[in-house]
Amino acid sequence: MTMIDTRPLIAVCIPFVAALLVSMSHKYPNIREMWSAIASILLFGTVISMTGGVLDGMTYEYTMFNLTDTVGLTMKTDPAGTIFATLASLLWIPINFYSIGYMRNNHEGMQTGYFAAFALCIGATMGIAMAANLLTFFVFYEILTISSYPLVLHERDEEALLASRKYLAYTLASGQLFLAGTVGVYCISGTMNFTPGGFLESHMAPAWVLQLLFVLLIMAGSVKAAVMPLHGWLPAAMVAPTPVSALLHAVAVVKTGAFAVLRILGFVFGPKLLSELGIADVLAWMAVLTILASSFIALRQDNLKRRLAFSTIGQLSYIVLGGALLTPLAFKGAYLHLVAHAVMKITLFMCAGCIIVRTHLHDISEMDGIGHRMPVTMTCFALASLGIAGTPFLVGFVSKWNLAMGAIQAGKPLFVLAWMASAILAIGYLMPVVRMAFFKPEPEGDPRHYGSTSYCMLIPICFTAILSLVLGIVPEIFPPDFYRLAELASAGITAGFGGVFK
């Protein structure tokens, strides 16, 4: 049942208003950070108040104004969007406090701009999550690109400059292709509203046109989701401050890309048309290659943030692969992995940031024995690493199990091997860090200087680590009940197509 409700609009507006307030309180850092904190809590409250309704089959919808003569800027909360909105708003709370600790302890400059751009990014992410049609989606997609640009550029040095240019080149180019694809979709179908199961049909245009449109649209998602060979910007963007890497390059920006891929697969083209076109298989194989290649590259990285970045690239392709398999369980696994990876990777990045702030170490080879001085941080790191590898009772297991079952359901058990290989590789590139931290002795006459612990940073880390444990043991905990939301989303997508998979 669809209901006109202003809450989707409010959810999108809260971060934007917060950004305005933040930039106006330039002179009072405490008040400035208070705005972000209040906004994050308000936002989560707003989103979570809709989750219950969505679980009962309600859809809240609101049209702000008309974008063009026929298409409106419409916000809608369907199960898939609610998953993403809940996730992003939930994780904004810990990352916000973490940011405060990080930016202050690391004595970063231009904090006002930082917090304002951060809030803008969250607002854009909310818009993307709740966008009801392709054009609205595109609007927020571009806003996200623009508002995350200053964050990549934050350090204002040569390296950041190059990284930001690279970032813009990738995202703007793919954005323009997305726009061309959107126009094409609108012209052949006359609509742009996301419909579970897709609104394009094979009689609307010749197969090659549909395939071309698919490539144009999926390219934009793939760039932000860093599917190889379109991943070049992500490792470069690691020059940004660590909380940015944590939220944007583990949650908001890259997840937006994965979310976009799922939207296009499930809500524009739909499993039925895609299985006729046969083009989703290409995407699936690209994802497999990405998973394997990025894991191998990650093994060779010494810089911790870069290693995590390549791990991100691989993990995101799990989601893409899940979507490209087109079966109910695979879609469900993909949505669950969206959540799971966000929770785990944000923990890992926050730990990396904590290490940087306290010891100014970036390279793994120098981290011998730091677990003795930073036990809590490194325990959380170990927990999240195990989660990435897919250990039972952690959140990563739930999603991977569903993904694997989805592959079997699709009759393509070969893909399960890819996930297994990737899990082993993940142990290979993350566990050595834990081993070095805990089981290697500290170097003689430790030259490293440890800064003071900031609870502002430590508590968020513990929060997300515990979250990954809780979601692993009871995935259907309410709020937010990601498990049932994912089930609803995938059921919607594959409803008209479920007959094939018994």
Binding site: F65, L168, V183
Partner: protein
């Protein structure tokens, strides 16, 4: 409301009389002439809004205003339709805003130059408005010349190389005007009428004759020169670069758009696009547009003078409008009209900012703008908005015109246009983000202050407010673009597109 049924004529009459009296007032008091002209521009703006209200109240049906109640084909007619009034509102609004902006540049001038500037400024506005509103082809020629002559003067007032630029424009512009006159001659020979609505009916038997083809080609060249359509744009970069910085906003914003609009009116309302001559002409126009987009963008990439870069970018943007016209369907038409209005605001905003930088630092090199975000905050934000709009990032207005152009291109299956639009957006991104990077990232450039800022915003209030208004306009035009399209543009669509 204010002038009742006579408001259309006041749009032109008020600035015309004020400009002619301006020098006399200036003799009495240096500032008086400027005030009178500004007051008249306000009146013209209000009359434009009033005309728009009238025509929308009438359901979008064209209002014919007969001068001195002489009926056409003998008398001169002003035609008020929804599109005309939209363009009129744009011109008078920008003109009004920029007239405040010019003041600081004229601080040290004597009464003659002060008054002279506003006389020319007012006359330029008269020419622009007249060309838009008139329904008589010869009358349009008169306004075209008024616009051009005032334009030459304002460009020549810029100092430093501006004389050469103005003279060059004068030579090229005169050729353009002559072609226009020639075109009218052909039309008159065929139809025996000078009234647009009249011609559009009487021309029908002639549309397959060579004479018609000649006439149409003349109009293409004439307006092509005046709107700086590639490859007829040679005069434009110099003129924009060296024109008077106070008036550059109006010159760059409107002076090329109004000929483009006149061309659009001729093609869609007078000649009709469903005959073989016009079809092939549209193809030519499309190719010119595409080349203009690509070459303009590439040339803009190569510039280091901020003003010159903007000028070449204008060549590219005019190409968008040409492409929109050449598509010959509803979406292409809407895109062209929308881009005409949007681009006027974007370019005006950017030129106002450049003028501000010139005013304060005397600097035009775009690689020496480091740290400007601290020195001129409002201008920097306005530049950001304009840049986003140029690249076509929603919700700024530049996105929406591009959207309609793309829709139109799909509709008439001109996929090459889509490719060009995408490439051009990316080129725009390259050369515009360069500026943003300079302003916000690079180390502070050592600039000499020519005028110490009186306010914290870095410029006199007279300049900050217009910059802010045009910057805000970019955003509002984007947000309200559907209103603009649904309520105004689509009501005023030409009949040829309805078939």
């Amino acid at each position: 409301m204010i002038f009742g049924v006579h408001s259309p004529v006041f749009i032109v009459l008020l600035p015309l009389s004020a400009s002619l009296l301006c020098l006399a007032f200036s003799r009495l008091h240096r500032h008086l002439g400027g005030w009178v002209v500004q007051l008249s521009l306000l009146g013209a703006f209000l009359s434009s809004v009033d005309s728009m209200r009238q025509v929308l109240d009438a359901g979008g049906k064209t209002i014919h205003y007969w001068m001195g109640n002489w009926q056409p084909p003998i008398g001169i007619e002003f035609a008020i339709d929804p599109l005309n009034t939209a363009v009129l509102c744009m011109i008078t609004f920008i003109s009004l805003v920029v007239s405040f902006y010019s003041k600081p540049f004229l601080e040290n001038e004597d009464w003659l130059h002060y008054g002279g500037y506003y006389t020319l400024y007012g006359l330029l506005t008269v020419g622009l408005c007249g060309m838009t509103v008139t329904g008589d082809v010869f009358n349009m020629y008169v306004y075209l010349e008024i616009m051009s002559l005032a334009g030459y003067g304002l460009i020549a007032m810029g100092g430093h190389k501006s004389m050469v630029a103005a003279f060059r424009y004068l030579l090229v512009g005169t050729i353009g005007a002559s072609f226009y006159l020639l075109g009218i001659g052909f039309l008159y020979a065929m139809t025996g009428s000078l009234n647009m609505a009249d011609i559009s009916e009487r021309i029908v038997p002639f549309v397959h004759t060579p004479l018609f083809a000649f006439a149409v080609a003349c109009f293409l060249v004439a307006f092509g020169i005046k709107m700086a359509l590639f490859p007829l744009h040679g005069w434009q970069p110099d003129s924009y670069t060296y024109s008077h910085p106070g008036a550059a906003g109006l010159i760059s914003g409107c002076m090329s758009k109004v000929p483009a609009y006149a061309m659009l009116r001729y093609f869609f309302y007078v000649f009709g696009i469903h005959n073989t001559v016009m079809q092939s002409l549209m193809n030519v126009l499309g190719i010119m547009g595409i080349c203009g987009i690509l070459i303009g963008s590439v040339m803009a990439l190569a510039q280091y003078d901020f003003r010159r870069m903007l000028a070449y970018s204008s060549v590219a943007q005019l190409g968008y409008i040409a492409v929109g016209m050449a598509l010959g369907n509803i979406h292409g038409f809407v895109g062209a009209v929308l881009h005409l209005i949007n681009h006027a605001f974007m370019k005006c905003c950017l030129f106002l900012v450049v003028g501000g930088i010139t005013y304060r630092f005397g600097e035009v090199n775009l690689y020496r703008l480091g740290g400007l975000n601290k020195k001129m905050p409002v201008s920097s934000i306005a530049v950001c908005l304009a840049v986003l709009s140029m690249v076509g990032i929603p919700p700024t207005c530049g996105f929406f015109s591009k959207w309609y152009l793309m829709l139109g291109a799909y509709e008439s299956q001109q996929y090459i246009h889509i490719v060009v639009l995408v490439i051009s957006s990316l080129l725009n991104a390259v050369y515009y983000f360069r500026i943003v990077e300079q302003m916000f990232v690079q180390r502070e450039a050592s600039l000499t202050e020519l005028h110490e800022p009186a306010t914290k915003l870095g410029l006199p209030m007279n300049m900050v407010v217009p910059i802010g208004i045009t910057g805000l306009g970019i955003l509002l035009l984007g947000v309200y673009s559907s209103t603009l399209v649904n309520r105004i543009v689509e009501i005023g669509l030409p009949e040829v597109l309805m078939r």
